[in-house]
Symmetry: C2
Subunit: 556 residues, 2 copies
């Protein structure tokens, strides 16, 4: 296991500790609670804490009033997280014309709630999902991207997840769809706070790319054995083999694989059926949860739009293999939101929809999703990797048709949903929580965010710092801070024209921010990633999965 107790903030060389101390000299305790915060938040709280504390009183009164009118209960939460879709590709008619993808149901949701115009995520699936689940930068939990292979690691049981927090406040919790938090038992969703979960262990590279159909669509090079003869192959395990596909499980129980039988080959048809099943299951879960007394937290993390084979008949004008599925997914979201209405849940359910990171730019030109406004995509610290569409609806509480240009980070939703659920007390106090409470922004509107900064990591490496309209790309090792490029992302959204030479003041300020962050890490070292034997706690493991696990075990 990799230990992260030493300072590890990537490219930046950390200066003397005396500087850190002076950087934090003016900070004081958070305005609202005793949650452990990053240095930068404390720096802001020192400037605005009194105002925030005052504002929090009226917000608490509003939330209490809501619960009173709702039979003493906080609202339900339906959280939809879409995979690998860049900012501008959902929720906006004008952009639909640019892309030839009709997202009318998401557009409608956007109009019914607040558009968070500056939502930052982590640059890849696993980290963003960890950040949402834990309210922490994933690096603090030892989490990087989980590969499509046996790894014997994943989200540690020591991490406290949002569903665990919400359960303590009486919520019922269900998860449907992509999970991608590891292949060990402690990481499975039904062991991380969900009463019930249906999920694939791995991700879509396995489920839609490692197929014969993806090869035929010219997307998958060299995986499928029908694509080339193999006289000279020695290593039979270079290509992933025998991976578990879709599981279902209940809290405290074992999981069961349901999408594949022993000896069966996974195909695009399996993938499409899996997607359809998740859509059916989220509707089913919504109905089941709505019949219970307690409020619910329902998570729907679709696998689409990721998809690497062409359909029989495209439904979008774009026709790209991701784009077309994005339009299909939009109709499914329409169906889900119609079900919310049909079950009479509209007024009492906070619905949030966002994407986890930017597009898979590797398939640009044929996937149909392209770098649109911001440069870069998945895996990259550029705005195109970490800026996504995000919409949140809570009728009568969040202003319909509103928008906010404030900075929000995906981890903020952990803290904010906890507050809305009256569960702030259950947020752990023994570790850093990066998620900032954004309830003021949602309830009081634009201009009420409590962060104006984001630290952008690629895996364990701090690659950028965002503050206000500025963004510094961290200097490479050995390069002086004064040479680090700083961008104004309003004037230069594609981060192509660094303001080097006329932004030296901001270079110095960014160095201070890096130091405040580093000092926080020094005081509160990163926790270890969960480790274990892969595929434990699955009751019907296929022989091929057992075999592949034995191979894995044989040299670990």
């Amino acid at each position: 296991m990799k230990k992260r107790s030493k300072l590890d903030i990537g490219w930046l060389r950390i200066g003397a500790v005396v500087l850190f101390a002076s950087g934090l000299a003016s900070s004081k305790a958070s305005a609202t609670d005793d949650i452990v915060r990053d240095g930068e938040y404390n720096f802001l709280a020192a400037q605005h804490g009194d105002v925030w504390a005052e504002q929090d009183k009226s917000i608490d009164a509003k939330l209490a009033e809501y619960r009173e009118q709702n039979g003493g209960k906080p609202p339900n939460i339906l959280y939809i997280l879409i995979d690998d879709v860049s900012f501008g590709q959902m929720g906006n008619r004008a952009m639909n014309y640019v892309t030839g993808i009709d997202t009318q149901h998401v557009n409608k949701l956007a109009q019914e709630g607040m558009s968070l115009m500056r939502m930052y995520t982590e640059p890849s699936c696993t980290p963003t999902r960890t950040a949402f689940l834990t309210g922490r930068h994933p690096v603090r939990a030892g989490v990087e991207e989980v590969k499509v292979a046996l790894v014997g690691e994943g989200l540690a049981s020591e991490e406290v997840t949002l569903p665990e927090v919400l359960k303590q406040a009486g919520y019922n919790t269900s998860h449907v769809g992509k999970w991608h938090q590891g292949d060990i038992e402690q990481s499975y969703p039904h062991n991380q706070g969900f009463d019930w979960a249906a999920f694939p262990v791995h991700q879509q590279v396995q489920l839609s790319l490692m197929t014969r159909e993806a090869m035929q669509a010219n997307n998958m090079l060299g995986f499928h054995p029908s694509g080339q003869s193999n006289e000279f192959h020695i290593d039979q395990r270079f290509r992933p083999y025998g991976l578990v596909t879709g599981l279902e499980g209940e809290a405290g129980g074992t999981a069961k694989e349901i999408d594949l039988q022993p000896g069966e080959e996974w195909t695009q048809a399996h993938y499409e059926r899996m997607n359809e099943r998740y859509q059916a299951q989220v509707l089913e879960q919504l109905e089941n949860l709505s019949q219970k007394d307690d409020p619910f937290f329902l998570q729907y993390w679709p696998l689409y739009p990721l998809n690497f084979a062409y359909p029989e008949q495209a439904i979008s004008r774009n026709g790209g293999f991701h784009a077309d599925k994005l339009q299909l997914l939009d109709t499914w979201i329409g169906e889900l939101l119609a079900k919310v209405d049909e079950l009479g849940l509209r007024e009492d359910t906070v619905v949030m929809l966002m994407a986890d990171n930017g597009l898979m730019y590797h398939y640009e030109g044929t996937s149909g999703l392209s770098q649109l406004i911001y440069r870069g995509g998945k895996t990259q610290h550029l705005e195109g990797g970490v800026r996504t569409d995000a919409f949140i609806r809570w009728p009568g509480v969040i202003e319909a048709g509103s928008a906010a240009g404030d900075i929000v980070h995906v981890s903020d939703m952990f803290t904010t949903f906890a507050r809305i659920a009256n569960a702030t007390d259950y947020i752990p106090r023994d570790r850093v929580i990066d998620g900032v409470d954004q309830t003021a922004l949602l309830l009081e509107g634009e201009g009420n965010s409590r962060r104006d900064y984001v630290y952008v990591y690629e895996g364990p490496v701090l690659r950028s710092i965002v503050k206000q309209e500025f963004k510094m790309h961290m200097p490479a090792p050995g390069v002086p801070g004064a040479a680090a490029p700083v961008f104004n992302i309003l004037r230069d959204p594609r981060e192509e024209n660094p303001q080097i030479g006329n932004a030296l003041w901001s270079g110095a300020s960014f160095q201070d921010m890096a130091k405040r962050h580093a000092l926080t890490i020094e005081k509160h070292p990163h926790l270890p990633l969960g480790k274990g034997k892969p595929y434990e706690g699955i009751e019907n493991l296929r022989p091929e999965s057992i075999e592949t696990r034995e191979v894995f075990d044989s040299w670990h």
Copy 2:
């Protein structure tokens, strides 16, 4: 004078004439009239002419009904053309958040009318304005970009302009702002169909960049004498000198320079006063025109957002020297539209607002306007150079809040406004008119465009052909057509991933389109550019302008 009577369609090598003939074999006369069309339009008319003719009957009835309800008169037309602003930078709240520029008044106009989501222009100011004024690709009139210097050329009096067409149908016509159609008397707006005009002869490089303030803002290199000593200068005329600034004139009369006195130095303050004066004058013109019996055609072509000095205090979050003025201009447009309402003109006035071409990418990063969605800018055939925001409002006739993904070219507005003004009969029949009548699109909505193609020129060179969602960049001389890159601009809006190798069918189809276009040119050769002595017809020419003209004359 450059003659263009020989085939000159740029990079494409023209094949045998027999091919052209076969390309046109199935064409027949236009559906609606005897206007001379480009081959490609005839090719479409051969497929859809009967349907269009039928549709035209009901459109004619609608227009007649409108006139009947409006005291026998067609509507007023207010046409606002903004300089150098790329698609997505006006009219859309989400994009306002990206750029930090608030265009709330344009956004509102967009919501009150139809958004033309695929408006193509020419890639630069002079050609786009010629295309609008004449309904012709500027190359047919010998027009390229007019430089900031004495040229002794401009729009020929033989060209028939929209205001000339509208005047024959009884319209009063006024022009306020940028003109940029040449420095010879026949080219001035009051000699090209406008009853009254206030306009600078040249463009904003002279008016805002060739100043001491622009040098101090680090935008203007080497023009202003205070920026360097000049011991070794021999040529006193390398830097433009003595240029005429702002003129006013009435049809049939001489022009008068009003923004500068003899011996005075032009400064940024002059430029700002000039902009403010045009804004005041367009309000004044609107009021004057509204008091007359006949309908009016009022053209407002602001000089802002082009601007190269920083303001005392920025008003936008962006603060870039173009961006900030775009936000100011938006408030001015709000003022103008409020005046339309105040004068009771709202219901009887078609208001159109669009930009003439993409941003000046040369100043990206500091101007505050950046390549956003499409790649490229002014002077380039890339989508970023020729795709602009365009909105048109006609209450009760054009559906409020509607949008159209159909292709439209700026020249279409010539033909369309003529139709709306009941003036189609005055469109000349002795030359090619590229502008397609888009009244069906405006009145019947999305899907009713009568073009699905655009020929994109840079000056006299045909650089791209757009058809449906495809775009071919013309092959360089000597390069086989099969090697020309073809892009799908829905899947790849930035034209970065050519579909070469899997779009050979479209390469062949694009070659056919080029041939149809070339044959039309062969049948109807380009007309000559207007030529003359610069600055004639100005009654108060300053001594320095007289001097600079004499120098010009001395070697021409």
